[in-house]
């Protein structure tokens, strides 16, 4: 990809960068200081959205980070969207009584005002709970998205 951007006519420079953290505003439910999101069957839930304005010649890299678990195995996956396109889908979130970490990441050429979005999707035929674990009822849910881009100058 560097061969496409950098050539005798130009050089690379920093474009934009940013991040967004997921703050679950609903109260923690259940025990074990756990927050629960009920995701309906065949439904996506937006966790974090990052809006940036990219240069016309920008190549962006975005990564979504989540630490969570699921009520049941083989239900939830995480999805990374960049510029209105689904770029990556993770494997299934496990059903365990603690959090596990997931990262979804990719490159995409983005220009103008675009969004990078991290979503959770329940692929099952029934609803399933998504669990985030925190220190107390005011803890932020551990999910975030970061994005940075380079441009031709």
């Amino acid at each position: 990809m560097g061969k496409n951007l950098a050539g005798p006519a130009g050089a690379l420079a920093e474009d934009v960068e940013g991040d967004t953290l997921y703050v679950n505003t609903t109260d923690a439910s259940g025990t074990y200081r756990r927050r629960t999101i009920n995701v309906a069957d065949d439904t996506e839930v937006t966790l974090v959205t990052l809006n940036l304005v990219f240069d016309a010649t920008s190549l962006a890299f975005a990564a979504g980070f989540v630490s969570a678990s699921s009520q049941a195995g083989n239900n939830h996956v995480f999805r990374l969207y960049m510029g209105g396109v689904l770029m990556q889908t993770s494997g299934f979130l496990p059903a365990v009584d603690h959090s596990l970490n997931f990262v979804v990441r990719d490159f995409k050429a983005l220009a103008g005002a675009q969004a990078c979005i991290l979503k959770a999707y329940n692929s099952d035929v029934d609803y399933a709970f998504l669990y985030f674990y925190g220190g107390d009822a005011t803890s932020q849910c551990p999910a975030a998205i970061a994005c940075g881009s380079v441009k031709l100058v």
């Binding site: 996956v77 209105g84 689904l86 494997g91 220009a111 969004a115």
Partner: protein, 148 residues
Amino acid sequence: MRLKVPVTGKVLEYDPVASQVDGIGVVGDPDDPVKTININLGNISWRLVTIDLENDLAEIEVKPSENISVLKDGGDPDNPNDWIYRASTKKERQSFLDYAKNLIESHTVDELYTMTKAKRLVKPAKAVEDYKKKPPNVAAREQFLAQG
């Protein structure tokens, strides 16, 4: 393993310049993003390789899950304590790939849209025209995808 899966959503435009950089070039509607149909491919993860705007197909690079959740014998699927999370075996990983491949390739595109009740991709004629004139440089993504 590569698969071609039907896509849904709404294309805003096809950017021929961007397509030479990222091998995709498609800009989707954030309110109705371009994505593969919601078909459960099982214990795999995948990355987008490119989007074929003539045939409304996403080519995806599929990998089998290295760790899986298995329900204990007689366990309650709604109880997290009745699931075991363990590494998958080589044989299981191959079966995951075989399952995904067979699921997609044993149905026509029309059947896949019907099965998932997904809408057909909405795309402006200009996007398709621009795509045909300057198809995406997929080689641009290969180096990144090869890293896994």
